[in-house]
Symmetry: C2
């Protein structure tokens, strides 16, 4: 049996190749911008999306160079999307570092994001598979759709779980689903396996976003690398908040306070901290984590028939990594 965290060791060499491709593609020939972009790209994250893409192709006849190219494209698409997202949220910190929009004008940030989108599309095109490009483009469409929904659904407490699921699918799970599908397509997996790996990616992505939403409620700024409680501050209703709201007595003081914070009528930090503490104490965090657990189990179930047992085991590890992100 492989040990937990072995997935990062096993795939170390491939991930290094992805990083090199990303760094090369993110080269901007403008001195004023170049250093900043390289820094953001280097800060990276856990590289879960490229890892998923590489692993999805691992059990089949893969051409490593094409997998690496697509994986770099996925990571760069993710980075471009984060840059625009930070600009939209006017966020000051990401991955523990100042965001691009705390250093450049908003116009420059939009253009740098667009430039990285272009580079990521070039990597997708370099796989020479129109199917990969089509998945890539529709994934970008899904991401924008999810982000637009997040924006237009903000400040409304009366949201259904369906609305939340649709939003986080677009915003986050679509790229996990697309990454897994691209890897399987490039490696010429049989169609049922492509579909199974896509579902694995989708469930994993949903779990990942729920955990992200839980962390925003549960952790401190130092742990997150970005300010805690941002969702509440922006009026974004996440699963922990929905579960907490469902347990409140209608027309109670706590319900009115939550309503006012989400609506953006109350913005003072003490009230936000009090609401966060209340959510943490309500059991909502535990229920949300259980939902994420179930999604990870479901994800693992989808790939029960994937041929190579070692690859299956690495994908299971990856799924566990998505759940346990505090360490």
């Amino acid at each position: 049996m492989l040990q937990t965290r072995d997935v990062l060791t096993t795939m170390h060499a491939e991930l290094e190749r992805v990083d090199a491709r990303v760094a090369l593609a993110a080269t901007v020939q403008l001195p004023a911008v170049s250093g900043l972009v390289q820094e953001i790209v280097r800060a990276g994250g856990k590289r879960l999306r490229p890892l998923l893409l590489l692993l999805a192709g691992r059990a089949y006849r893969y051409d490593l160079d094409r997998l690496v190219t697509a994986a770099a494209g996925v990571e760069l698409l993710h980075t471009a999307s984060l840059i625009h997202d930070d600009s939209i949220d006017r966020a000051g910190l990401r991955r523990g570092k100042p965001t691009l929009n705390s250093v450049l004008s908003s116009g420059a940030v939009i253009l740098v994001g667009d430039y990285l989108f272009a580079q990521s599309a070039m990597l997708a095109a370099a796989t020479e598979s129109t199917r990969v490009v089509a998945i890539f483009a529709s994934t970008l469409g899904d991401i924008c759709d999810g982000q637009l929904r997040e924006m237009f659904d903000a400040h409304r407490l009366d949201q259904t779980r369906d609305e939340y699921d649709r939003r986080i699918f677009g915003k986050t799970a679509s790229l996990f689903a697309g990454a897994a599908e691209m890897g399987a397509v490039i490696a010429q997996a049989p169609e049922p396996d492509i579909a199974a790996l896509r579902r694995f990616g989708s469930d994993l992505g949903m779990a990942f976003q729920i955990v992200d939403d839980v962390l925003d409620v549960r952790e401190r700024t130092q742990v997150l690398g970005k300010p805690a409680g941002q969702d509440l501050r922006q009026g974004t209703v996440t699963l922990p908040t929905m579960l907490y709201a469902a347990g409140l007595t209608p027309r109670s003081a706590a319900a009115a306070r939550l309503q006012a914070v989400i609506a953006g009528e109350i913005e003072d930090e003490d009230t936000i901290a009090a609401v966060l503490a209340d959510i943490r104490g309500s059991g909502a965090v535990e229920i949300a984590m259980r939902a994420a657990d179930l999604l990870v189990s479901s994800a693992k179930g989808h790939i029960a028939a994937i041929p190579d047992p070692e690859t299956r085991s690495l994908l299971h590890e990856l799924a566990d990594l998505a759940l346990d992100r505090s360490s």
Copy 2:
């Protein structure tokens, strides 16, 4: 011989099909955004880029549906790029109508632009040609590069013609070049013809941008459909301004005034109007128009060997349309 403007009549049915594809692809399933996006798309322009793409394929074995798909992709890429550009410039008017960013928050505008980029990439992928997708993606990269250069070169009067050319190639000519290349590639034109049509598009695009820069100096807001003198106001040094500056006595009052306007130190409308009047009176507008004329002649020269004489004649007309844009 065909008469001028016949190109729009001849290609009317094809352009209608492009418009229908664009409208379909630009459908956003969010009520708050949908109407606005359709309005921008419908306002359209002269559809020069899709027209160029269609004509570039016309002399060869073309599949009209694939040409229409790519042409819709090019028009949508252009629209997405305008939306981000207006947001960066905080422009209030475009094509005589309020811009998206005068109605939506800047965050929503970024996302709507991204969404349209995604839709345009899906159209490129739908041509099922990885070469078309690669041209598409590298064109988007060139556009961003040009726009970033415009931003970082702003407020500096000491610019060379090379810097200007590089900037307007990226910002404008790259999409004309890419559109012509995509049309020729889809229609399986011989490689020398693909290269010739790309050069035709590039020169035409350069001429188009020079005329655009002249119009900003020469015309009134009502004619332009956007505020006149915007380049000066934003510190963007265009060819008419460069030519005007070259004719000024160093350290004269006029030179100092121009320097202060470009640097953004003087922003009052009377001074800007006076500088505009001076540029118009200096002969710079006429020299710039002659440069555009020469580029159009050069463009026409590139396609002398294109097989079908009627297509050649239509491409010549298109080139003339790019020059004469006041009517």
